[in-house]
C-alpha cells in the first residue's frame, strides 16, 4: 500500500539502516588496533517489494546482516606458518644463548686457553727443571679446567632453564583451550543459525593463533559454529565445548614426556608427535640438541684427558712418589679391570709397566709388572707386592682405588714404560682427573706439588731420572699436533675437534636463525594477506562514515519531504 506513510516508513527504515552502518563503522574504527579483529561490514538488501497495481514496488532498504571480512584459508596458512616460525624462533633463541657460552670470537675463549696450555708444556720442555714453568703450567691447566667446567655447567643450566619454561607453556595451552571451549559455548548460545557472532569468533580465532605459537595444532570449524582443535597425531585439544589438558613429566631417560589427558583418565604420550610451536622447539633443544652437544663436548674432554694422562703416566717428575693413590675407583676390586666401570677401563690392553724404587735418591730396585685387561685390581696389587719391588713398596686397595706406599722413609718410587695403559686407567701418575667436561680437574698430586709434573722419563736401563730430562714434556707438547680425538669416523687433534664442535654449534644456531627469519617473513606475508582482507583501513572507514552519514541525512530529508507532502495535503482541506 503505497502512500506518504510509505515514504515515511522507507525513510525511517533507511535512517535506521544507515545508523547501523555508522555504528559498525565506529566499531571498526574503535578496533583498528585490536589484534585478531576482523573488519565488519553491513550487508544491505532491498526490502521485500510490495505488490501494487503497477507492479511490485520497492519498500526501501533493510539490513541483511553484519559480516566480518575473514578468509579462513589465509588464516589457516598464517596459523600454520606461525607455529613453524615459533618453533624455529624458540630454537634460535636458545641456541644463540648456548652459542654465547662458546663465543670464541671474543678473547680468552676455550681455544685460546688450549693454546696457552700447550704453550706451557713447550715452555716446560724448554726448561724442565724450572719452577716458574711448572707453576705456569698448573695455572694454565686450571684456567683450562675452569673453561671446560663452566661451559659444561652452563650447558646443564641452559637445559634446566628450558625445562622450567615447559610448565608455563602447557598451563597457557590448557587455559586457552578451555577458553576456546567456553567461547564456542557462548557462540552457540548467541547465534541463531543465520547470523554469526563476529566478535566472539574473532576472539576464539585469536586464542587458536596464540596456541599455535605455543604448540602446532590444526583446526576446523563445523557448520554449527563449533571448532575442533587437534594435534598432528589426531588427538583433540578441543572438541566442541569440551577441552582437554596437557601435562608433562621428566622420563627416566631424562626427556620431556608430554601427556594428553583425555576423557575417562585416558593418557597418551605425545612428545614424539608434536610439530611446530615454541614447545616443540624447546623440547628439541632440551632433549636433542643440547644433549648431543654435551655428549660431543664430554667426548672431547674425555679423550683429551686420556691422551694427556696416558703420556703423563709414562714420565717422572723432579720428585718421586712416597705414596700414591689412583684417582679412579673400581666398582669391585674382584672384577676384571676392563669390566668394572672404570671410565678408561676399555683402554687397558695386554702389556707391562715398570716401577723403579730409589733409596736416598739413588736407584735401588725395580720390577716389571705384567697386566692383562681381565686382571682384577686385587690381582694387580698382588702382582706388585710379589714383584722385585715388593719388599720396598706395599700396594693395597683403598676405597676401591689402587694405593702404593714406600715402606721406608728413605725410599721413593716412580713409574715408566706403561704399555698397558693401566696406570692411566687407574689414575696413577696422571695429570688430570675426571672423565667429562664437567668433572675435568687437575690431579692433586701435581697441583699440590708442581715438581711431580712428569717432564722427564726414568731411564729404564739405569733407573736414573736426571732433572734436565724433557722427553716427556716434549711428547706431551707434541700431542697438540697429534690426532687423538675421535669424532664420528674422523680422528682429529684436540684443537680441530673443538673447532668442529664450535662450527657445528654455530651452524646449528645460524640455521635456526635463518629458518626463523624465513618463516617470520612468511608469517609477515600471510599477515599482510590477512590484513588485506580483515584489517581496518581508517580512510576507508572515514569514507564509509561520510557515506552512511550522507545517506542518513538524505533519509532524514525524506521525512521532511513526507511532512511537506502531508502539509500540502492537509492544506487542501481549508
Amino acid at each position: 500500500m503505497s502512500g506518504i506513510t510509505s515514504v515515511l516508513d522507507i525513510a525511517a527504515q533507511a535512517m535506521a539502516a544507515e545508523q547501523v552502518g555508522v555504528e559498525v563503522t565506529s566499531h571498526n574504527i574503535a578496533n583498528v588496533n585490536t589484534p585478531g579483529y576482523s573488519r565488519q561490514v553491513v550487508n544491505y538488501e532491498t526490502a521485500y517489494p510490495e505488490l501494487a497495481p503497477w507492479g511490485p514496488m520497492g519498500r526501501g532498504v533493510r539490513v541483511l546482516n553484519i559480516e566480518r571480512n575473514f578468509d579462513r584459508f589465509i588464516q589457516a596458512r598464517l596459523d600454520e606458518k606461525t607455529a613453524t616460525m615459533a618453533e624455529y624462533q624458540a630454537k634460535s633463541d636458545q641456541l644463540e644463548q648456548v652459542a654465547t657460552f662458546f663465543n670464541e670470537t671474543q678473547d680468552d675463549g676455550l681455544n685460546a686457553q688450549l693454546a696457552e696450555f700447550w704453550a706451557a708444556w713447550n715452555d716446560l720442555a724448554d726448561n724442565p727443571q724450572g719452577a716458574a714453568e711448572r707453576l705456569a703450567l698448573i695455572r694454565r691447566a686450571e684456567n683450562l679446567n675452569d673453561a671446560f667446567n663452566s661451559r659444561a655447567d652452563q650447558l646443564a643450566q641452559a637445559r634446566q632453564s628450558v625445562t622450567q619454561e615447559i610448565a608455563p607453556i602447557l598451563e597457557e595451552v590448557n587455559t586457552r583451550a578451555a577458553r576456546i571451549a567456553q567461547l564456542t559455548e557462548e557462540i552457540q548460545e548467541s547465534e541463531d543459525g543465520t547470523q554469526v557472532n563476529n566478535d566472539l569468533r574473532d576472539k576464539r580465532q585469536t586464542e587458536i593463533t596464540e596456541i599455535e605459537k605455543l604448540v602446532g595444532v590444526s583446526y576446523y570449524t563445523t557448520g554449527d559454529g563449533t571448532v575442533n582443535v587437534i594435534f598432528p597425531n589426531g588427538l583433540p585439544l578441543v572438541t566442541g565445548v569440551t577441552s582437554f589438558t596437557l601435562d608433562y613429566t621428566i622420563s627416566p631417560t631424562d626427556t620431556v614426556d608430554v601427556t594428553w589427558n583425555g576423557p575417562g583418565g585416558l593418557v597418551e604420550h605425545i612428545s614424539s608427535s608434536l610439530d611446530g610451536g615454541k614447545l616443540t622447539g624447546l623440547i628439541e633443544v632440551r632433549d636433542t640438541i643440547i644433549p648431543q652437544f654435551q655428549a660431543d663436548f664430554d667426548n672431547l674432554a674425555k679423550e683429551f684427558i686420556a691422551a694427556i694422562n696416558s703420556q703423563h703416566s709414562q714420565g717422572v717428575g723432579l720428585d718421586l712418589f712416597t705414596s700414591v693413590t689412583g684417582t679412579y675407583a673400581v666398582n669391585d676390586p674382584t672384577d676384571p679391570l676392563n669390566a668394572t666401570d672404570l671410565p678408561f677401563g676399555a683402554e687397558i690392553t695386554n702389556g707391562t709397566f715398570q716401577i723403579f724404587v730409589d733409596r736416598n735418591g739413588a736407584p735401588h730396585s725395580n720390577a716389571t709388572i705384567t697386566v692383562d685387561p681381565t686382571d682384577t685390581l686385587d690381582d694387580l696389587v698382588n702382582a706388585i707386592n710379589l714383584s722385585a719391588v715388593g719388599a720396598d713398596l706395599t700396594a693395597s686397595v683403598v676405597n676401591n682405588q689402587l694405593n702404593i706406599v714406600a715402606n721406608a722413609g728413605t725410599d721413593s718410587f716412580g713409574f715408566a714404560a706403561d704399555t698397558s695403559n693401566v696406570l692411566m686407567a687407574l689414575g696413577v701418575n696422571t695429570f688430570f682427573t675426571g672423565d667429562s667436561a664437567y668433572t675435568l680437574g687437575i690431579n692433586d698430586t701435581v697441583a699440590d706439588s708442581p715438581n711431580m709434573i712428569a717432564a722427564g722419563q726414568i731411564d729404564v736401563t739405569t733407573g736414573l731420572h736426571p732433572v734436565g730430562d724433557n722427553q716427556n714434556a716434549l711428547a706431551l707438547s707434541d700431542l697438540e699436533n697429534s690426532a687423538v680425538i675421535t669424532v664420528g669416523t674422523d680422528t682429529l687433534t684436540v684443537t680441530d675437534a673443538f673447532r668442529r664442535l664450535i662450527s657445528d654449534l654455530g651452524l646449528e644456531a645460524e640455521q635456526s636463525a635463518t629458518q626463523a627469519k624465513f618463516y617470520q617473513d612468511q608469517v609477515n606475508q600471510f599477515q599482510a594477506m590477512r590484513d588485506d582482507v580483515s584489517g581496518v583501513s581508517l580512510d576507508e572507514e572515514l569514507t564509509n562514515l561520510i557515506k552512511y552519514q550522507r545517506a542518513y541525512q538524505a533519509a532524514a530529508r525524506l521525512v521532511g519531504v513526507a511532512d511537506e507532502m502531508y502539509q500540502t495535503l492537509l492544506s487542501t482541506k481549508e
Binding site: A115, E510, D532, E540
Partner: protein
C-alpha cells in the same frame, strides 16, 4: 590490494627495526674492530679463524722455543770457542817447550801456565746458563767436570838403548799439590842391584844417596812408590805424574727442543764427547794434565807428543763448532720462516676477522641514509589521513 592500518604500521615498524638492527651491527663491528661478535654470525669463517689463531699461537710458541734453542746453542758455541782458545794457547806453549832450548826451570814455569789453563778449561766446561750446566746432558743440576782425588799415574818411560827396565807406580798419595817425580837410574844392573835417584823439580835437584831398586820402593816422601823390574842401564829415566784427573759427572743424553710440528733440534753438547773427562786420547783435561806433567818432568819429547794430541783435539772441537754453527743457522732460517708465516697468518686473520673500516664506514653511511629516508617517508605516510580534509 587493500592496504589497512595494521599493514602500514607493522611494515613501518618492521622496516625501521631491520634498519636499526643493521646500524647496530655495523656500529658494533666498527667499535669492536671485529667482523663477527658471535659464532653464529658466520660459523665457517669463525671456524677458520679459530684454526688460524691456533696456528699463529703455535708459531709464536715455536719462536719462543727457538729463542731457548738459540740461547743454548750460542752459549755452547761460545763455551767451546773459549776451550778452543785455551787449546791454542796450550799448543803454543807445548810447541815452544818441545824444543830443546828451554831448561827445566822454564819448563816448570810453562807447566804452571798449563795448569792454569787446565783450571780455566774446567771452569769454562762448567758454564752455567740460567742455573743449568750446559754440558751435563740431562744432569743439568750438577757440574759436568769435577776434580777427583789425587791419582798416581802410570810411569812415562824413557829408557836407554839395551835397557829392559820396567816400572809400575803405586802407593797412596798424601801430598796436597800436583807433582811429577823424575826417577833416574844411577847405577845399572838387574833390579835389586841397580840404584836410582829421583827429582821433584824436573831434574834440577836430585835425592841423595841413590836407593836400590826393588818392589814398592818409596819415591819421595808423600806415599808414592815404584815397583822396578828387568835390567836397567845407567841413565834410564821415567817420570811418575801425580795429579787430580777431571772426571765427567753428567750423562750422555741429548737435550732436544721442539721447533716445529714433529721437528726437534738437539741443542746441547754432551760434555764427555765434546771435552772429555773420561780419560783417553780425546780427553782435553787429560791431554793438558799430561802436557803439564811432561813439562814438570822437563821432557820435551812428551811435550811434543802432547802437542800432537792437542792438534787432534783442536780438529775435533772445530768439527763440533761447525756442527753448532749449522744448528744456529738452522735456528735463524727457521725463525725467518716463522716470521714470514706469522705475517701471513696475521694478514689472514685480519682479512677474515677484522672489520674492513672502509667497507664498514661505507655501509654505515649507506644504512644511515636508508634509515633517514625510511624515517622521512614513514612520517609522511603516517601523517596522511582523510581526517585532515574533513
Amino acid at each position: 590490494m587493500r592496504v589497512s592500518m595494521p599493514t602500514i604500521f607493522s611494515y613501518i615498524q618492521r622496516n625501521l627495526q631491520n634498519l636499526s638492527e643493521e646500524l647496530f651491527k655495523i656500529n658494533n663491528s666498527i667499535s669492536s674492530g671485529q667482523k663477527y661478535s658471535s659464532i653464529s654470525d658466520n660459523p665457517v669463517d669463525v671456524g677458520a679463524l679459530l684454526g688460524l689463531t691456533t696456528d699463529s699461537d703455535q708459531v709464536s710458541q715455536y719462536k719462543r722455543n727457538l729463542e731457548t734453542a738459540n740461547d743454548w746453542l750460542a752459549i755452547t758455541e761460545s763455551t767451546l770457542s773459549d776451550i778452543g782458545e785455551i787449546v791454542r794457547t796450550c799448543s803454543v806453549t807445548a810447541e815452544q817447550m818441545a824444543t830443546g832450548t828451554y831448561n827445566a826451570a822454564q819448563r816448570i814455569a810453562g807447566a804452571q801456565t798449563v795448569q792454569q789453563m787446565l783450571d780455566e778449561a774446567v771452569q769454562t766446561g762448567n758454564t752455567n746458563y740460567k742455573g743449568q750446566y750446559i754440558l751435563s746432558g740431562y744432569k743439568i743440576d750438577s757440574q759436568p767436570f769435577v776434580e777427583s782425588a789425587f791419582t798416581i799415574q802410570n810411569p812415562v818411560m824413557k829408557l836407554q838403548p839395551g835397557s829392559t827396565g820396567t816400572a809400575a807406580s803405586g802407593g797412596a798419595y798424601i801430598g796436597t799439590t800436583t807433582k811429577t817425580y823424575v826417577v833416574e837410574i844411577v847405577q845399572g844392573g838387574v833390579t835389586g842391584v841397580a840404584t836410582f835417584r829421583y827429582s821433584e823439580d824436573g831434574g834440577q835437584t836430585w835425592s841423595d844417596p841413590p836407593v836400590v831398586t826393588g818392589a814398592a820402593v818409596a819415591v819421595g816422601t808423600e806415599g808414592v812408590n815404584a815397583t822396578f823390574g828387568g835390567t836397567w842401564v845407567a841413565g834410564d829415566r821415567f817420570s811418575i805424574p801425580v795429579y787430580e784427573p777431571i772426571t765427567y759427572q753428567g750423562d750422555d743424553n741429548t737435550l732436544e727442543i721442539g721447533i716445529g710440528r714433529n721437528s726437534r733440534l738437539a741443542v746441547n753438547q754432551v760434555g764427555s764427547d765434546a771435552l772429555g773427562g773420561t780419560g783417553g786420547s780425546t780427553d782435553i783435561f787429560d791431554i793438558l794434565a799430561q802436557l803439564k806433567s811432561s813439562l814438570e818432568a822437563n821432557d820435551p819429547y812428551e811435550a811434543a807428543a802432547s802437542l800432537e794430541r792437542l792438534n787432534t783435539f783442536q780438529n775435533q772441537i772445530n768439527a763440533t763448532l761447525a756442527g753448532l754453527g749449522a744448528s744456529l743457522n738452522r735456528v735463524t732460517i727457521k725463525n725467518n720462516v716463522y716470521d714470514t708465516l706469522q705475517g701471513a697468518l696475521t694478514d689472514n686473520i685480519a682479512e677474515k676477522g677484522d672489520t674492513d673500516l672502509v667497507e664498514a664506514a661505507n655501509a654505515l653511511a649507506t644504512t644511515q641514509l636508508a634509515y633517514q629516508a625510511a624515517l622521512a617517508s614513514s612520517t609522511l605516510v603516517m601523517n596522511m589521513s582523510l581526517l585532515d580534509y574533513m
